[in-house]
Amino acid sequence: MTGLNRRRRLAAVAVIALAAVTGSACSSSTDGPSDGGAYLVWDPYPQFADDSEWVALLKKCGTSAGVTVERTGYDTTDLTNKALLAAQQGNSPDVLIVDNPVISTLAEAGALTTTDDNKLDVSAMEKNLLGAGQSDGKTYGVPIGANTLALYYNKDLLTAAGVDPATVTDWTSLTAALTKVKAKGKKGITFSAIGTEEGSFQFLPWFWGSGAQLTSLDSPQAVSALTLWTDWLKQGHAPNSVINNTQTTSWQEFATGDYAFAENGTWQLANAEKLPFAYGTIPVPASAGGPAPAPTGGEFVSIPVQKNTGRYQTSQQLVACLTNADNLLTTDTTLSYVAPVAAVQERQATADPKLKVWVEAVRAAKGRTGDNLGTKYPKISESLWTAVQAALSGGKSPQEALTAAQTAASTR
């Protein structure tokens, strides 16, 4: 009667499981990783396999701290939930690397230690970058690298249309350039206005470049920025697909060679070298001229709260190792990022003159959760991208869309 035996065994398994559920419902946590020798690191770089330089660096830092490092790379959108869940269950990794706007959420959740607890030295970091990891005077992490946005342009196409990129310094001259390109039968500009954080990230340089503030989404300046985008779509300077474009999609559009400009980030530099045409970069222009402040992107290294506070010391050594000058240079070179430390930025710019414009852009950039917005930012940002989508898809006028956004952001 093997059938009976198997069912008995299955039933036994299920009973054990049931007991476990009841147990876990009452005491919802166990100790973190108990193996003293292994330190867990989570990062949002699933693209780096075990034989990559990044993983080699992690191992090396582990060795010099006298521990082994167990690393897992997660998809970036997945990592926030995963980190919250692990914190809830008392199973957080020792070192957590996350996208910078997530830091304020995790800090709010009480899942991260401050530099007071973990004794990390953050004095070398650039203030505008560090801002995203700070709230109420406490610092919850160290930037590992920074990126920001600028306009890539297609040199061949602009030459053919008779546009000198150096003359593109404000919105008027940019729109004039787009008109000339369109007259040549080519397409003007592509960007990403998708209904996620990515869309807000891409809109912010124009938003801030108009002089608008995140605390007042319906100011006339803000409306002028959204009107600029909406008019581009109406006049055919930008493709309708931007409403659904991720930054990767919009880069693929630029790579076809049909577009004169593309708003994209530092991380595309490596791909830019593979473009089948000559390219250049200019800062995103502000409304009245000069470079607009772009938002900072990039990840932070943080040390999540552990039951066993004795682990912080080793974690601190690991983080210090990951963020020392030489290692930052390696990491940020592989990521195509700009380093968060002035001295390293200089070394990057010297090694590759093309990075110079990006170093300047990062220095002028602004944290999204800065200005002490902290966890207010996610709501503001959601209202903002919703407004952008409403205006671009023709559902509402820019004024209506932003008025609704301001109401939504301030009431919820």
């Binding site: 559920v21 659904n244 076809t256 919703t386």
Partner: protein
């Protein structure tokens, strides 16, 4: 003669298929001793259900009844909020449009998936050369991770570089903003969802067709019935229990769908393709700052919707059984 008696037994039996039908007034043949004994066969699945579904369900209800912030999610101690989260959701201006989208999405997806799936099942049931291989190939979309299949659809439907618009252009139709205009986005996600759902309907209905004894068709062929008459006279009634369960499962899976929509449009633009499932996901997990309470509340509302559908199904089944 023999074929006919067997037929009527089969019909009665399948009518009683009623996976969820209540014991009801026992038919004459149901005087079985010791029916509790049958729980021996049900024990593994019952324990399994209790072990693995009860806790998540409890979590979801608990999340919806407390006022969770990210802080109390991690640290515990969220205050009890009664039905506040449900009130928040129900009074949200987005509620009614989203509910409407959910109904339209579900009804349209089910109607097309089922009809096309049935047509294909009937077609492939005819055993022609390569029929089995082709039918197996139609399942291939199910092997693809959703991120790939949904992304492929957004690729095809892209306003500027999508193949669909290019094809429309060839026949002289202006490009359609499939994913980026509020008027079309819901249609686009329905198309993709129908495509993904067809194999499921095909396979289940096909297995149902195979369970119909060939003698019945032979008998009706003797009566000189046409193909169409055969379908309505034999196939359709005999396939009814399988069709009912296919539709019911389809309804539940469709109500739950969020990843296809999320990947293709994020529920946008401006909520025009948002369903209750995507809304729940956006609130709970698609944001920098999760709002677990309202997210879970919407999830529970969906469970209630499925519950209603299940009850309706049982009623219909019971009526059929009594007939």
């Amino acid at each position: 003669m023999r074929a006919t008696t067997e037929t009527s037994t089969a019909v009665r039996d399948q009518g009683g298929a009623a996976s969820t039908a209540p014991p009801g007034p026992p038919p004459s043949r149901a005087r079985r001793p010791n029916r509790w004994w049958a729980w021996g066969f049900l024990a593994p699945v019952t324990i399994y259900l209790a072990a693995f579904y009860a806790y998540p369900l409890y979590r979801n209800v608990e999340l919806s009844l407390r006022e969770y912030t990210v802080r109390s999610f991690v640290q515990g101690g969220a205050p009890f909020a009664g039905l506040d989260n449900y009130r928040t959701v129900l009074t949200d201006p987005a509620f009614w449009p989203t509910l409407t989208h959910t109904v339209v999405f579900t009804a349209a997806s089910l109607a097309f998936q089922f009809t096309i799936g049935m047509a294909l099942a009937l077609f492939f049931h005819q055993h022609f050369p390569l029929s089995r291989t082709l039918r197996a190939l139609i399942l291939v979309p199910w092997l693809l991770p959703l991120i790939v299949s949904a992304s492929t659809w957004s690729w095809l439907l892209n306003s500027d570089s999508g193949l669909v618009n290019a094809a429309l252009g060839v026949v002289g139709i202006d490009p359609v903003n499939w994913l980026t205009s509020p008027g079309w986005s819901l249609t686009s996600v329905v198309i993709a969802n129908v495509w993904i759902g067809i194999p499921f309907n095909l396979v289940v209905l096909y297995s149902g067709l195979q369970a119909i004894p060939a003698e019945m068709y032979e008998a009706s062929a003797l009566d000189g019935a046409t193909g169409w008459q055969r379908f309505w006279g034999i196939t359709f009634p005999l396939l009814r229990p399988v069709s009912a369960i296919t539709l019911l499962l389809g309804l539940i899976y469709t109500l739950k769908v969020f990843d296809i929509i999320w990947i293709m449009t994020r529920g946008g633009p401006t909520g025009s393709s948002a369903t209750l499932a995507t809304w729940s996901y956006r609130l709970g997990f698609g944001n920098l700052l999760p709002e677990f309470g309202p997210g879970a509340a919407i999830g529970n509302l969906l469970i209630v919707l499925a519950l209603i559908a299940g009850l309706v199904y049982i009623r219909i089944e019971r009526r059929q059984q009594l007939r």
